[in-house]
Symmetry: C2
Subunit: 400 residues, 2 copies
C-alpha cells in the first residue's frame, strides 16, 4: 500500500454492495446517520458533533450527502467522488429557520427518493452532544425502516486492504506495548507511563511511515498503550488510579494503533516481581483458555460454538467458571467492538476475513485480573494471530 | 471542595428534580439510556460500549439500574446509593438466551412501572459499537415517549459545585495552553508538541491536586492542549497534518481540562513570526467580535439575540460576513457541546449559571482561520470569563 488508507474505488464498491442489499430488501434507498457507517461507505472522516451528517444511498444512481456548511472543504478534499452535496447553514438552524432534517428531505427529493420505500440505520440523527431533532419519518411523513445490519453485516468480513491496515496497526500496537513494558518499574504512574509510552510509539511510527500514514481523527494518539494495576485489574473495565506500581502488582495492559481508521487489539497480563503460586496458577489457566480460543476459531462454526468450547474448558477442565466476567471476544475494525461477538447467544457463522479479539479473562476478587487479548484473522482453515507480542510468563515479568 | 467531584447528595437532588419534571409531564417514570445522562443523574461513570446501561427513575421511590454483570463492582463503588440493581450476564446474552432489554423489562416490573406511562431519552439503547437490539416499546408492548429535554434542560443551568469544577478545569486548561505555547517553535510537530504539552500539564495537575482529583474516564489525558497550523486552520474542524510549524504560520489551538467529569474550553489564534497587515486586520476583527459576544451575553435575553448581535457586527461593522462558518458558541459541561446554542434559531432564554463558549470565528480561504474561544459563566447581570489566558496579539506571537 502506497498510502495506508482505503482507496476511492474500494469505497465505491462498498456502496455498490450496499445498493444490492438495499434493493434485495425491497427498499429504494438507504439513509445512513451513524458516523462510522458514513466513514465506512465513503471515506469521510469528520468531527462527530451535534451537527448532523447523513449519507443517502439510492438503489439506482450515485449517493448524496448532507453536511453542515462548515464541513464543505473537508468533504471535497476527502470524498471528491461525492457529487450531490446538500449543505445546511448551521445547527439548529443558523438563521434559516429550518432544522437540518428539512435539508435532508430536500436531498431525498433531489435524489428521487421522496415517497419511496426508505430504510435507515436509525430513524433520524442519533442524540450526539446537544443534538435535538425530529425523526426522519416525522419529517417525511412516511415510514422509515431501521436495518443497520444492511451495512454492519457487510462490515463483518474484512477486505484484503482492511486486513493489511489491521496488520500494520498490529505491528505498531506491538511496538507501543514493548515501549510500555520497558518503561514500567516500581513507582511508575499508570497515566504518565501509559501516555509517555504512547507518545514515544507515535513519534516512532510517524517517522517510520512518513507520508504513507494518513490521519483520520483529531483525537488522541495513533499508537497507544496503557495499563492498570493491582486489585483494580479484577475489574474488566478498571479506571486509572493514583499511586505508583508496587512490587507484586499484577498489571493488565492494552495497546493498539490506528491505521487508515482501523484498530488493532493487544492486551497482556504482566507481573512486577516474583510470581506467587497463585499468580502462576491463574496465569497458566488464562493462557490455556486463550489457547483453546485460538484453536476453536475457524470458518464454518458459529460464534456461539467457539464460546461454548472456551467456556466449557474454563468451567470444566479448569473448574474456574466463577471467575469469568465476560465472553471470549468481539469483532472489530473501524470501531473497538463491532458485531459479531464470541458469545453463547450469537449464532453468527464465522467466515474467512473476519477479525476477532480472543480474550477469555479470569477475575479473582481482591487479587487481580488475568487477561491476554490478541487480534485474530479468520483464514480458510482456522485463524492467524496478527498481534505478535510474547504471551509466556517469562516474557511478561518485570523485575521489581 | 475536598474531592473535586459532585457529591452523592447533589446526585440525589438531581434525581428528585427529574422526578418532579417527569411527574409534571404526566409520566410514571423515565428510562435513561444516554451514558452522559446516566452519569449526570447518579454519578456512575463507565466504559461506553455495546453493553447497555440504563437508569430507571420512577416518579415515586428510588431509582434502579440495569448493568452488565461485569460492571457490578464499579457501580457498587461509585454509586452505593443505588439499591435496586438488575444485572444481565453479557451482551448479546451470555448463554441466558435473553437480550439485555428483557432484563430491563424485569427491572421495570420490579419498580412497579410495567404498563405505566413511560418516557425515555431514547426508545431503546443507542446504537453504540456493535449493539443491536429492539426498541424498549417493542419489548414492553406499550408506547414509550421520547423526551430527552426533561433531563437536558435541567443540565443547562449549572449548580455551584458544577461551576466550581468548571472553574478548576479552566485553571488547568489555561496552564496546559501556556505549556503548549512555550513549546511551540519553528519545526514543531502538531501531534507531538500537543501531546507532549498535555502530558506535562497533566503531570503538573495531578501533582498539585493529589487525591482531590478523581478520575472519571480511562480515555486520554485530563489536561489537554493541541494546535493545528497554516491554511488548515481555515477549516473549523481541521485535522492534524504532517510537517512542522513554518515561519508565518497561523495556529489555532484548543485546550481544556477534565474535572470531576466536567470540561472547560479555551482556544487561541497564534502567529509564528512577524504579523502581516492582513493578519492584524483579521485578528483584530475576530477579537472585536468576541468582545461583542462577551458584552451581549446576559440573563433575560435569548441565545438567538446574542447571536444576532454578534453576527450583525461581523456582517455590518466589520463587513466580513462571508468569512463566518459557524455560530458564536454553545453550552457545555459534561460534554464538549451541550444544549443550548448561541444560534439565530435557538430561542432558549439565557439564565444565570449557564456556561457558554464564545468563539465567533473568521475563516479566510487558503490563508487561515481566526478564532479565540473562552469559557463564560452567565451571572446575575452579565457574564464572567472563567478562562484567564491572554487574548491580545502581543501575547500570542511566537518568535520565528
Amino acid at each position: 500500500m502506497e498510502r495506508l488508507e482505503i482507496t476511492a474505488s474500494e469505497y465505491q464498491s462498498r456502496v455498490k454492495t450496499l445498493q444490492g442489499r438495499v434493493e434485495a430488501a425491497g427498499f429504494a434507498g438507504m439513509v445512513v446517520f451513524g458516523p462510522v457507517r458514513v466513514s465506512y461507505l465513503c471515506g469521510f472522516f469528520f468531527a462527530k458533533t451535534e451537527r448532523p451528517v447523513a449519507l443517502v444511498v439510492p438503489v439506482n444512481g450515485k449517493p448524496g450527502m448532507l453536511i453542515p456548511q462548515l464541513e464543505t472543504d473537508h468533504l471535497r478534499t476527502q470524498c471528491p467522488h461525492i457529487e450531490t452535496v446538500q449543505t445546511y447553514p448551521e445547527y439548529p438552524g443558523g438563521g434559516s429557520g429550518r432544522h437540518p432534517m428539512l435539508y435532508l428531505a430536500d436531498l431525498l427529493m433531489e435524489l428521487g427518493l421522496k415517497n419511496k420505500r426508505l430504510v435507515a440505520d436509525h430513524d433520524g440523527y442519533e442524540n450526539r452532544w446537544g443534538y435535538r431533532g425530529p425523526k426522519l419519518s416525522q419529517v417525511l411523513g412516511q415510514a422509515v425502516s431501521e436495518h443497520l445490519e444492511l451495512i454492519d453485516d457487510a462490515r463483518m468480513v474484512k477486505s484484503p486492504a482492511e486486513i493489511a491496515l489491521i496488520e500494520e496497526a498490529c505491528r505498531w500496537g506491538d511496538r507501543a506495548h514493548r515501549i510500555l513494558q520497558d518503561k514500567i518499574g516500581v513507582g511508575a504512574s499508570e497515566l504518565m507511563v501509559s501516555q509517555g509510552s504512547s507518545l514515544e510509539a507515535t513519534r516512532e511510527m510517524l517517522a517510520a511511515l512518513g507520508s504513507r500514514y494518513v490521519p483520520k481523527s483529531r483525537e488522541g494518539l495513533p499508537a497507544n498503550a496503557m495499563f492498570i494495576r493491582g486489585a483494580n485489574t479484577a475489574n474488566p473495565h478498571g479506571l486509572h488510579q493514583g499511586g505508583g506500581v508496587q512490587p507484586g502488582d499484577v498489571l493488565v495492559t492494552g495497546a493498539y494503533a490506528l491505521m487508515g481508521g482501523y484498530e488493532s487489539e493487544l492486551e497482556r497480563t504482566l507481573l512486577v516481581g516474583e510470581p506467587s503460586e497463585d499468580f502462576v496458577k491463574y496465569f497458566n489457566a488464562m493462557l490455556a483458555a486463550q489457547d483453546v480460543a485460538f484453536a476453536a476459531l475457524r470458518p464454518g462454526r458459529t460464534c456461539a460454538e467457539v464460546e461454548q468450547e472456551v467456556s466449557s474448558f474454563i468451567r470444566g477442565e479448569l473448574g474456574l467458571g466463577e471467575l469469568m466476567r465476560h465472553h471470549t471476544g468481539h469483532g472489530f475494525g473501524l470501531e473497538g467492538h463491532e458485531h459479531p461477538f464470541l458469545d453463547l447467544d450469537d449464532p453468527t457463522l464465522i467466515q474467512p476475513g473476519m477479525i476477532f479479539s480472543a480474550e477469555p479473562g479470569l477475575y479473582v476478587p481482591d487479587f487481580a485480573g488475568f487477561r491476554h487479548s490478541d487480534t485474530l484473522l479468520v483464514t480458510e482453515t482456522g485463524c492467524r494471530v496478527l498481534s505478535q507480542y510474547p504471551r509466556d510468563l517469562a516474557s511478561l515479568v518485570i523485575t521489581a
